[in-house]
């Protein structure tokens, strides 16, 4: 994994290689991806960023990118050393349309997992999913 910052000057790239430790517990306690902890993080970011805000189509893409990066930084802060993380955010205005979001994954179910949260305000909705994939 590399930790190059997408938005600013990058930190020095750090490349992790395989260690072939097949279970996250091999790296210590609390290294397994915990859905409840990640969901709490996502909900906090969504509420902080979107509560009492109105939908602005000119700023929607910037807002969704900000939410993505905040969620990623907070989940990284939970200390999962050997997980590759994917954060996906969907933000849209509410106009009475129906929406359905789904995901399918081909992975190792004993080590990999995901967490998601959904926030609805008066004029918009936002769905955020975080996928954690273990890197042996």
């Amino acid at each position: 994994m590399t930790f190059e910052d997408e938005f600013g000057d990058g930190e020095d790239e750090v490349h992790y290689e395989n260690t072939f430790i097949t279970s996250p517990e091999g790296y210590g306690e609390n290294q397994r991806f915990r859905c409840a902890d990640v969901k709490t993080v996502i909900e906090e970011v969504l509420h902080d960023r979107l509560d009492n805000h109105e939908y602005d189509p000119r700023k929607a893409s910037t807002t969704s990118k900000e939410i993505c990066s905040f969620v990623l930084e907070r989940v990284k802060g939970l200390g999962y050393k050997r997980y590759k993380l994917i954060v996906e955010v969907t933000l849209s205005e509410k106009k009475g349309q129906a929406v359905r979001v789904g995901s399918h994954c081909l992975w190792n179910p004993s080590t990999d997992n995901y967490s998601s949260a959904f926030l609805e305000t008066a004029d918009m909705f936002c769905c955020c999913s975080v996928f954690g994939l273990y890197y042996e």
């Binding site: 969704s64 849209s92 349309q97 789904g102």
Partner: protein, 109 residues
């Protein structure tokens, strides 16, 4: 140890995804009762084709189907991974009634 670069063909993945969406949704109008089945079918088709390539990747496929009501949708993703082996692609498709966005992420093991 040399890390092999991502060996998946992006063009082929895009073709696979577009064919899956076109075959499933085609000229349909938005029907509540069918949406779950559509989403499952699109993602299963994509995953099956990806798995057949038998390459050493883990895959995540997400699919969003929305009624085309004239509103836009922002789908954004950020990732913490190895950019030499991991990548993603997003395909958006729409007709007069349905907006469909499929994202495929592949991560080296």
């Amino acid at each position: 140890m040399d890390i092999p670069a991502s060996t998946l063909d992006r063009g082929e993945i895009e073709t696979t995804v577009r064919e899956a969406i076109g075959a499933t949704l085609g000229k349909s109008t938005f029907l509540h009762a069918k949406v779950d089945g559509w989403i499952a079918k699109v993602m299963e088709t994509c995953l099956k084709r990806l798995a057949q390539s038998a390459k050493q990747y883990k895959y995540v496929v997400t699919c969003q189907i929305m009624q085309n009501a004239g509103t836009g949708a922002c789908v954004t993703s950020t990732n913490s991974w190895d950019p030499r082996t991991d990548d993603f692609m997003t395909v958006d498709w729409q007709n007069d009634h349905i907006l469909c966005i499929v994202s495929v992420y592949w991560v080296g093991v």
